[in-house]
């Protein structure tokens, strides 16, 4: 029985138990959960298992193969690191939401059919929104609501796609699909929303920076990477993805450069990095898919590390606006150090994790002859250093001293960051350990002379450009602002439209509303009159009256039978 149990369920069930525990027990149990799940993952046999017969369909709740395993490993790792990072938080809601969210993502990765995928897909949405709401502010409430609408909307589209697909092909298997028919197209679209495809992306940079300090770390790990996994599973080698991915990789750079909120900068760079993975999936060769999986693995780690360091800054300094920070390295030296390691990883410095995964995708694009895409990716790679690798640590920890003096981050946060940083460097130095768990055998050596030199040249010139821009004061000034992009549609346009419709409706309401309200009121009064505590149906009837009913019923029976 236990060998058919999805590790995700362990985390979800454990999360449900968390509210019952207190203090140290709760925290200890929370750390134990990802370990238990991981242990369960290690004991799983490859192949499709956990068949559940439900309403005439056989669900495969557990499909174990190299692709699902690599994502399961990193999800467990991310859950553990995020849990350590969140250990000081005294808010059971966040702990439950975080663990259940991680469990749902892991369950989705192991899903062998589309129905199971859908269930976990929706569960990730419903659990993760609490990480945003847990900030308990008016603004985060509305942000959370927008996030939930988009995420659940993606689930609804997915369900529609699944139903149509099942109707046409008779299959609900979660396997390679081909675009063209309506069903797979809808499924593709649903994946695209979670994967933050261009134009569909704005929920991401809207919501992640609004979540709690620790919640963002959870959020950054699971939802989008789950979508990458789903794409790799069902749409590997779809050419459209190459172009979508290239666009995703390039356009956020411009937003990231002018953005002031550093956690939002990270959110934009997350989209850019996702673009690499999408390109990898789109190319669809073994090397490219390996690259996508490896990049997801590394990216979860260093993006978590960056969000952790910015979270620590937010916790201590109370803001992550580039314009208000600076000089923090004096008071938060460890955090600053870890942030620099994360920045080096995302910029793909040799000996850091980003280097060994990003280059796989870039090489795969060159091998496939996608020269335009190759150029875009190289350009983005240089940009990554520019807008993130240097900008984030520079404005937060160095730059002109803002005079903010705070305490170093809490011990558990430092510990989480230290372990994550260690992993980033470790994978960069010993890529073999990561390559060993990738879906396909790896025949790729990242550390060749050409490769290292090319990358260093790229990085040096990018750094030079940054230095020049700063020196001559041409760098876009960090301003307090909210950058609008495609979220303009629902931040500005949609409310305007809704308001216009609402005016019409309320006009109608003025006319007919009173009648309707009176009718409803009347109905309630009548219901209460008969059913309320003193109503005739709730009263204790006198025995005689009640016995009369018996006679009436018996008489009724007899009359019917005799006539």
């Amino acid at each position: 029985m236990t060998d058919m149990l999805s590790p995700g369920l362990i985390l979800i069930a454990g999360a449900a138990l968390l509210p019952l525990l207190r203090g140290v027990w709760q925290r200890g149990f929370m750390l134990l959960l990802p370990l238990l799940g991981f242990w369960q993952t290690l004991t799983l046999d490859p192949g499709a298992q956990g068949a559940v017969e439900m309403f005439g369909v056989t669900l495969t709740t557990l499909r174990v193969d190299p692709l699902s395993l690599v994502f399961a490993y990193i999800f467990h790792l991310a859950a553990l690191l995020s849990a350590i990072y969140a250990l000081h938080v005294r808010d059971t809601v966040q702990h439950v939401a975080g663990m259940a969210y991680a469990g749902a993502a892991i369950g989705a990765v192991f899903a062998g059919d589309l129905i199971t995928l859908f269930v976990y897909w929706e569960l990730t949405a419903i659990t993760s929104v609490f990480l945003i709401w847990a900030r308990r502010e008016e603004k985060s409430y509305w942000t959370g609501l927008r996030y939930l609408i988009v995420q659940v909307g993606s689930g609804v589209v997915l369900l529609a796609g699944i139903v149509i697909h099942q109707h046409q092909s008779g299959s609900i298997a979660f396997v390679q699909l081909t675009l063209g028919e309506l069903g797979p197209t809808l499924i593709f679209l649903a994946f695209g929303v979670k994967c933050a495809f261009p134009i569909l992306h704005s929920w991401l940079q809207d919501s992640y920076p609004e979540a709690t300090v620790t919640g963002t770390v959870f959020l950054s790990a699971f939802t989008t990477k789950l979508a990458v996994y789903a794409l790799a599973r069902s749409f590997a080698g779809t050419e459209m993805l190459i172009w979508i991915g290239a666009t995703m990789a390039a356009f956020p750079i411009f937003y990231a450069v002018i953005e002031n909120d550093l956690r939002r900068v990270l959110a934009y760079s997350l989209i850019s990095q996702l673009g690499y993975m999408v390109v990898g999936v789109g190319i669809g060769t073994e090397l490219a898919l390996n690259g996508a999986a490896a990049h997801a693995f590394c990216h979860i780690l260093y993006k978590a590390l960056l969000f952790m360091s910015m979270g620590a800054v937010l916790l201590r300094a109370g803001t992550v606006k580039g314009s208000e920070l600076g000089g923090l390295y004096k008071s938060m030296p460890w955090t600053a150090g870890f942030c620099v390691i994360g920045a080096a990883s995302i910029s793909a410095f040799p000996l850091f994790s980003g280097f060994i995964s990003k280059s796989m995708i870039i090489t795969a694009s060159a091998d496939g002859g996608h020269w335009v895409v190759w150029g875009v990716l190289m350009f983005t790679s240089a940009g990554a250093l520019h807008y993130l690798g240097i900008k984030v640590p520079y404005f937060a920890f160095f730059a002109h001293d803002s005079g903010i003096r705070v305490k170093e981050a809490p011990v558990n946060m430092l510990l989480a960051m230290a372990v994550t940083a260690l992993l980033c460097v470790g994978i960069g130095v010993f890529p073999g350990s990561l390559y060993a768990i990738l879906p396909f055998p790896v025949h790729y050596a990242p550390y060749t002379a050409t490769h290292v030199i090319t990358q260093l040249q790229l990085l040096l010139f990018s750094a030079l450009a940054f230095a020049v821009l700063i020196r001559f004061g041409i760098y876009p000034v960090q301003m307090k602002s909210v950058t609008l992009d495609s979220d303009w549609v629902y931040r500005r346009l949609a409310p305007r439209a809704v308001r216009a419709v609402w005016r019409r409706v309320s006009a109608l309401q003025g006319r007919y509303g009173k009648v309707a309200a009176r009718g409803l009121n009347h109905l309630l009064v009548v219901v209460f009159h008969y059913h309320g505590p003193d109503g005739v149906l709730a009263r204790t009837w006198p025995i005689g009256g009640a016995a009369l009913w018996v006679l009436i019923l018996l008489g009724g029976f007899l009359i019917v039978y005799f006539v």
């Binding site: 149906l537 009640a546 018996l554």
Partner: protein, 493 residues
Amino acid sequence: MITSNLPALQVVVPLLAGPLCVLLRREDVSYAIALLASWASFAMSILLLMAVLENGPISFAFGGWEPPWGIEYRIDSVNAYVLLIVAAIGAIVITYARPSVAYEIEPQRRYLFYTAYLLCLAGLLGVTITGDAFNVFVFLEISSLSSYVLISLGRDRQALTAAYRYLIFGTIGATFYLIGVGLLYQTTGTLNMADLAERVSTVTDSRTVRVAFAFMAVGLAMKAALFPLHIWLPNAYAYAPSVVSVFLAATATKVSVYLLLRVYFTIFGTPFAIQTMGLGDALMPLAILAMFVGSAVAIFQPDIKRMLAYSSVAQIGYMVLGIGIATTVGLTAGILHLFNHALMKGALFMAMGCVFYRLGSVRLEAMHGIGKTMPWTMGAFVVGGLSLIGVPATAGFVSKWYLILAAFERDWWWAAVLVLLSSLLAIIYVWRVIEVAYFRPPSDSAATAAEAPSVMVVPMWVLAGANVYFGLDTRVSVGVAQQAAKSLMDGGV
């Protein structure tokens, strides 16, 4: 030897253990006896169910008098299943009972409580197990008389009038049943159910048989508390001691519904009951009224035990609806809900027992903020409540699912819609309690309350857990219910 006498022991053990308590007169010894006898019954019911599933129906002739002359105990998949429900609830409730009994019943009466409890259990088991129509009446009276005693032990003075009311209607119901049996005996000259089934089918044109049918239908509907014959139920459940409410809510009406099935489908036979007498059409409107009126009244009740009692009226509506649909799937849904409703109402009334144990009240205004101080108790209430609503992954969902399936199978889509609508009402009355318990600042009594003792919490969570377990793993519950429904539709005994 033991195995061949299991059917007799199933009833005899609790029946003899009861008087033993009176002889010994000591509370602790009585409790030990009751505990032992109840768990022994539970074990025997498991063995019986397994034997029946393996080898088919068991027939046991009392005193060596072969049926149809002697009294026969006859166990097939239908009543083996109901036996298991009753015995399981009986065992779990007695495990839970001790602190609650000590709190609510005066010391010198406690041994009487255990006596009456055992007799009631024996009576309910007897009604279920016997294959003799008159013997049913005897056991019906044993269980009824002992439950009047149990209800009257309640602290509230209203418990006495509630018990008295129940006595009158219980007696009317049982008498109607007896009149029906008498009329059948007059026509056929036999009391054995299998024998009756054979002979009734040859004399279905007789007016005597039809009158017997009417009397038995009304009498049993009364015992099962089918709307509008439910008036005895809310007060009986509300004013009885908490343990009694749990036990009766989870078993007594279930046994009556079982008996209803037995009489309609086995004695009178499916074709006669459904086609000739139009039973489905007669039950349908009553079931639907029960679903809505019961739920609507429950919404406005300030006393939560009373609210749960009215919800029981509604839930009996679901069971009868399944029976009224009168297909194999419909019967499956009805029998399944019999089982699942025992689980959910058991858990819910147990939670109220825990609340009463700490607060001395189960009125809504006393329960403000109780979720903080009694998390386990209210957690079980939430699980039971979700199951009552029929949220997926709980037992309640499974039975509603089959009910809706059955309605669609007969193209009664409106019945499916009505089931869903009445579930919405269940959301309202369950939510009222959850809102008060979790989202209101604690009342004075709730703020100082502690969690109930673990003797009460553990059995309660066993039932709450069973609600989730049987919502996920339906092999046993649905499998047996399907088999039972099939055997009833085929007209076997």
